[in-house]
């Protein structure tokens, strides 16, 4: 029987230049692997590979030099350690993330939980081309989110709490945009300069800022044969459900307008950036109720081809 290389690639098995050898990409979400998963990968690399793994540019992990005839055995052994193959080709790929607010003092959002949610909602969905999500906790942007088709950056809006403020002036200096003034004992924030980075609140020694986490999104990034920096387009996105509604809208736009082999930006450029910008702004303006309803249900697409090979 002829080997179905396309099906193998879809299931995360990448053909090597060496005959009948494959590098297996395993499914990693948000850059986390448990010690159990690492042990499983280690065992398989030793038994079926060449005793090493390759860490990919996007927080995945590949086990090279697996023989074609061992593929089923490898899948079974990895499954015992909660490791499943990832995907390659024209579909939603690994969702990458920095460590986020679970450990990082700078982060505004819990990137790992969001990455898990995004992965559960979109991972391996069939699209005209590859589609990547990247999530970072704050505007230090350790994850370089603009490289992704959709980039999500943690951000926060703040409210000054006058009663808690000791007028120390630390926030004025912590702000990198010079958006804060301390005048006559009052904090004045220049909304036009504020980038929602939250450094004022993080630096405040007296809890005089109320933090409201949210997101800054970028659209259409790619860093392969052609470069394009994802564009921000929208203002600060405050709600989680709105974020999901916007992600759904992008997937639908790409699904409906993309040609085989496109990246999201190729599709946006062909339809016209003005057209896409108007479309995404319209979704942004939709009611919070509509966003809540959409986020509470799985993504819906009529001719969706669900992945069945893992």
């Amino acid at each position: 029987m002829a080997t179905d290389y396309a099906a193998l690639k879809k299931g995360g098995w990448m053909r090597q230049k060496q005959k009948n050898r494959f590098a297996l990409r395993v499914h990693v979400v948000g850059g986390h692997m448990t010690e159990k998963q690492l042990i499983g990968v280690s065992k398989v690399a030793e038994k079926y590979g060449e005793g090493y793994v390759h860490l990919t540019a996007r927080q995945s992990l590949e086990i090279p030099f697996i023989r074609l005839e061992d593929i089923e055995a490898v899948k079974a052994e990895l499954a015992e350690f909660d490791v499943v193959p990832s995907v390659c080709g024209p579909r939603v790929r690994t969702t990458t993330a920095c460590q986020g607010s679970a450990v990082c003092p700078s982060a505004s959002i819990d990137t790992y939980n969001l990455a898990t949610e995004i992965d559960e909602r979109y991972f391996a969905k069939e699209l005209p081309g590859k589609f990547k999500f990247g999530i970072t906790g704050c505007q230090n942007n350790c994850l370089k989110t603009e490289e992704n088709d959709i980039g999500i950056k943690g951000a926060e809006s703040v409210d000054w709490i006058e009663d808690n403020c000791i007028q120390c002036g630390v926030c004025v200096k912590a702000c990198r945009e010079n958006a804060i003034k301390l005048e006559d004992g009052r904090i004045i924030i220049d909304e036009d300069k504020c980038t929602y980075c939250g450094r004022c609140a993080k630096s405040c020694p007296s809890d005089a800022y109320e933090e409201h986490p949210g997101y800054i999104m970028s659209f259409g990034g790619m860093y392969g044969n052609h470069f394009h920096k994802g564009r921000q387009i929208l203002p600060f996105v405050q709600s989680h459900d709105k974020l999901i509604q916007l992600c759904d809208a992008c997937i639908n736009f790409f699904h409906d307008h993309g040609k085989a082999g496109d990246r999201f930006q190729n599709c946006i450029a062909r339809e016209g950036e003005d057209t896409f910008d108007a479309y995404i702004k319209e979704v942004f303006e939709k009611s919070e109720e509509s966003a809540a309803e959409e986020a509470s249900k799985p993504l819906e697409l009529t001719d969706w081809k669900l992945r069945t090979d893992i």
Partner: protein
């Protein structure tokens, strides 16, 4: 012998204008370790990165920031009360 600065009784002073990040914070942290719980340290630091980062790092260590004084010569004095874990 405590001295007074901006209405605070200062127990010790450390100058971190002669070092760069991350030694700025380390030097301040070492100075705080020398103090007893509740004593007050004045940290003399440069404008720019030190004043943007050192107050926050000290806060994250659990100490209480009382005041940031702008000396209007490109330096600042951060007044910190030591809080034991």
């Amino acid at each position: 012998m405590a001295v007074e600065k901006a209405g605070f009784q200062i127990d010790d002073t450390v100058d971190i204008t002669d070092v760069v990040c991350p030694v700025t914070f380390v030097k301040a942290k070492v100075a705080l370790e020398e103090l007893d719980d509740g004593q007050v340290l004045s940290v003399h630091m440069n404008d720019g990165e030190p004043v943007q980062n050192v107050p926050r790092s000290i806060k994250e260590e659990g100490h209480k920031i009382l005041k940031l004084i702008d000396n209007e010569d490109g330096t600042y004095d951060l007044i910190v009360r030591k809080v034991e874990e």
